[in-house]
Amino acid sequence: MPILQLVDLSKEFASGFRVHNINIDVQEGELIVLLGPSGCGKTTILRLVAGFIKPAGGDILIDGRSVISLPPEKRPTAMVFQNYSLWPHMTVYENLAFGLRLRKTPKREIDRQISGALEMVHLCDVTDRYPSQLSGGEQQRVALVRALLIRPRVLLLDEPFSSLDAKLRIQLREEIKSIQEATRTTMLFVTHDQEEAMYLGNTLVVMNQGAIEQAATPLETYDHPRNLFVARFLGEMNCFEFDENNRPLHYLLRDVAVRLPLVIGVRPEDVHLSRRPGPIYGEIQSKVPFGHYIRVVVNTNMGTVMAYYWRDSEGGDDSVISDNVTYVSFSQIHLFQEPLT
């Protein structure tokens, strides 16, 4: 039985923003990522599960029991907030002990659990400090520990790393992953950073405008996006609307029964540039190096195509992208039965 079930969950706000048709099953020990642009409803869902918002319809079940009538303090969930939300008038120790004291845990046990938990996140000697004396990364670790100490059935994380710098984000991401694997805590993780989502999630739930677009493993979602939104949100996608006058497009779809509206998508890594003649060709418009690859934009007879050209150790003058004109072919294309927006 899934540890967390969202059944036909919906919520409508006075502003007109609504979340609807939310159906998610989370198995115990899973890390589910809710991914989407700002305003897509992912934080709303998190707050619904935590109990800060009451749903308009549907149900939330934890361990098979409905929790929607329970206030936040009675739900077996714990949240890690975006801005850490550590109580500034309490020391780190008091912040961490707060939840345990409410549960009448004896002091020695509290001390033991706190030092064990702080060790897990590699923080030492912080118990007597105040949150304002800690760095952002340290504060977030304390917030994480605070939530884990009360042994929640589901840990809710609301874009916990978005206010940290890039390197720290990557580091904490890895820590969360290893903590999750070690403690087998079920986690619901909200982010708008697709790289984070791909790295962390057992399951990815992509959301847009209050609804779920696709729910699958990260690779499945990347390789087989269900619609244009998911295709473009996760990774990059060249998109071409089917047009009768576009002869190269016609050629590409010669074996396919075309039904309008139709959009053809190609990922930049699936674009190949060569000197071997073919039906699709064009002039190289720009080459921007991004480190281990070069983003090449080609103005083809089919439209503008962006490609990733991998740099190998040889480089050399023989490189095809040093030409003006190149021939373009695709190893994989995606078809979407919707208009291009």
Binding site: P72, E73, G99
Partner: protein
């Protein structure tokens, strides 16, 4: 560094000096009267300094009573105001209810009028319900002033406490009451203390309403001062003035820690 005394600087210093004189000399005068034994015109300073008049004042029961009563009223009014207004302030800060902005403004209104007119109306009402000359009547009349302080300042204070801090407390298992007591109140305390201090001082200073409702049975220090000036020697007035002003000065100096300009504007 070359510091030139320009004419402009002179004028500025002159203005500041005038202000300081204007401001401090009357207070200084009172303070001097309070420690005077004997001061005859035309000397600029008293001929004899001592605390003799302080001893004399505290030996007069009809003068000690107003002093005691003033502080009694101040404490009771402040405590009752706090108990009533803190929950109200929290409601204004967090809850949404109809006519909220209007109700909030209502607390400001009594201070928008000349108080004497208001007190006259209060007197008429109190006569009808037999509250004139009662202890509780004076408490109520002094609360007209304190309600504003105890609603406006704590509301801004509560608003400055981030709701996510309260969410975090409830999330780890604290009930709403526990959250209020352990998270919201400690963080809002500076503002609440400001409100309490202002309430205390305004109750101490309150003269007009107490005069109308309280006499002849309940006479506080400010009320006593009206007759004091004519009926008693100068130093007695000085003693009373110091007794009245000293709490204000001490508490306001203490208050400087808590007063931040963004506090009071948080509501709107």
């Amino acid at each position: 560094m070359n510091q030139r005394i320009t004419p402009k600087a002179c004028i500025e210093m002159g203005i500041v000096a005038c202000f300081l004189v204007f401001f401090f000399v009357p207070i200084l005068n009172l303070a001097i009267w309070a420690i005077t034994e004997r001061w005859q015109y035309p000397s600029i300073i008293p001929q004899q300094f001592s605390f003799a008049w302080w001893v004399w004042v505290f030996n007069q029961t009809n003068l000690v009573r107003p002093i005691r009563l003033s502080f009694e009223f101040a404490f009771i009014v402040t405590i009752i105001s706090t108990l009533i207004c803190i929950p109200a302030a929290y409601a204004f800060a967090r809850a949404e209810f109809p006519l909220k902005q209007i109700l909030y403004l209502l607390y400001l209104l009594p201070n928008a009028f000349p108080m004497i007119g208001l007190y006259a109306t209060v007197a008429v009402l109190f006569y009808r319900i037999n509250m004139m000359g009662t202890f509780i009547g004076v408490v109520f009349v002094q609360m007209i002033q304190t309600l504003m302080f105890m609603v406006w300042v704590p509301t801004a204070s509560f608003k400055s406490v981030s709701p996510t801090l309260e969410d975090a407390a409830r999330d780890v298992g604290a009930s709403q009451l526990q959250t209020f007591w352990r998270v919201t109140l400690p963080l809002a305390l500076p503002g609440i203390i400001v409100g309490i201090i202002f309430s205390f001082l305004s109750s101490l200073d309150e003269a007009q309403g107490t005069l109308i409702v309280g006499i002849p049975k309940y006479i506080t220090m400010p009320v006593q001062m009206y007759s004091l000036v004519t009926d008693y020697p100068g130093p007695v007035g000085g003693v009373f003035s110091v007794l009245l002003t000293a709490p204000s000065i001490i508490l306001l100096l203490y208050l400087r820690r808590f007063l931040k300009s963004n506090f009071l504007s948080k509501m709107y």
